[in-house]
Subunit: 221 residues, 2 copies
DNA sequence: ACCTGAACACCGTTCAAGT
DNA sequence: ACCTGAACACCGTTCAAGT
């Protein structure tokens, strides 16, 4: 009897492995997600995991597809901008819960079914709003680039500023010696580091700018 | 005499290490960049590298800062949009040469001097064009999110489509079974996979949309 | 000052063996 | 059908030792 509940516990399945892997990556970062640690988390040796995932790439593919499932699909809102805004806000929220996923979501070479369904729903909303195929492609490209790019910047910012913003300020200022970077310093000191500033407001500014711009091209081409 | 040119060759320096590391990552991907392989490339044992970089994180920081140096700074163009467009196009071009760098450029916790100078120049151009500090922050955020997000998508696309687009088509279509993803299929078959389509055109569409949107807010706030 | 050999504590993955 | 132990070919990094 290796450990108490060894034969009491039913066998693992793929979904349990994926859920545990996501939880581990959320907690300790993707760098700490190793087959050995994941096995330990599940009360199993690392080698057992290969009964449920083909290899680590397959594990990551499965994790990403599961994360995509957390993003709201654009719904049946009458206004296409409202639908796109809700989906974009949800995507950003999801990625803020799983920052390790951001770089991976768009770079999997084999997107899963949930991912494909998500993209299909976004394109469908655009087409129903009257965008031509060419314009829908443009819209899809600019929206997704913006959403993922913003999430990437936000993840690195929250990583940079760590827990204490006062300490972060000290550290940042120490790296801006003697007005070598006057505009960056001005922006930091006079705006970003001021109490009222909230970086998350930047997201809606850019999103609305893009949606407004797209509305104007909706019936062209 | 370990190898022929051992005492003929002058000692390594940090820049040679960074240049070789970038070349290796360009050639084989970031996953193949190991201290041992990098040492081999330089005719040296892996342990010698620690005389020139503190550790692998420091190596990556140095590589990224050097890549930032390849991006054109926004110049003294009279039109701020022209300056921003040139810088954005250059950034995208640079990242297409160094796809491994994309996920890392915005996520380094200690940006180097070249990186800071780049950001300072971008903000300076916006401020000189009349953007308030708050509006320049908005503009900086939306532009950078878009540029990095687009580069990320482009890198994964070129990775996905591998060398032969016909094979890629087969593979993609095999994953769209029985009209489960009608809009995605339509976009692929009727537009993206057609001979005339060039994904790189998407970049300027989104960039111009954002620049036009920003121009309208240039004198607000 | 720069480089090396040996060692340590890790990785992902295979495979034969167990139940 | 699922899990394990032992093994293989790797990692980054430290450290004492060489020149």
């Amino acid at each position: 009897m290796p450990h108490p509940s060894a034969e009491a516990r039913p066998p693992l399945n793929r979904d349990q492995v994926l859920v545990a892997a996501i939880a581990l990556a959320d907690k300790d970062g993707i760098g700490s997600l190793t087959m050995r640690k994941l096995g330990e988390e599940l009360g199993v040796e690392a080698m057992s995991l290969y009964n449920h995932v083909a290899n680590k790439i397959d594990l990551l593919d499965g994790m990403i597809d599961r994360v995509f499932g957390e993003i709201d699909l654009p719904g049946d809102e009458p206004d296409w901008q409202t639908a796109m805004r809700r989906r974009a806000v949800s995507a950003r929220e999801t990625m803020s819960h799983h920052p390790w996923a951001i770089g991976l979501m768009e770079s999997r070479s084999t997107p899963g079914p949930v991912t494909l369904r998500h993209h299909d729903a976004v394109i469908g909303t655009l087409r129903k709003a009257g965008f031509s195929i060419a314009m829908a492609t443009h819209a899809f490209s600019v929206l997704d680039s913006y959403i993922y790019g913003f999430a990437m910047q936000e993840a690195s910012l929250s990583f940079r500023s760590a827990e204490d913003s006062a300490i972060a300020t000290q550290m940042i200022m120490a790296r801006f010696p003697a007005d070598q970077y006057p505009h960056l310093t001005e922006m930091a000191v006079e705006h970003i580091l001021k109490p009222g500033y909230d970086h998350s407001n930047e997201f809606l500014f850019g999103l609305n700018l893009i949606l407004t711009g797209l509305e104007k091209t909706r019936h062209t081409l």
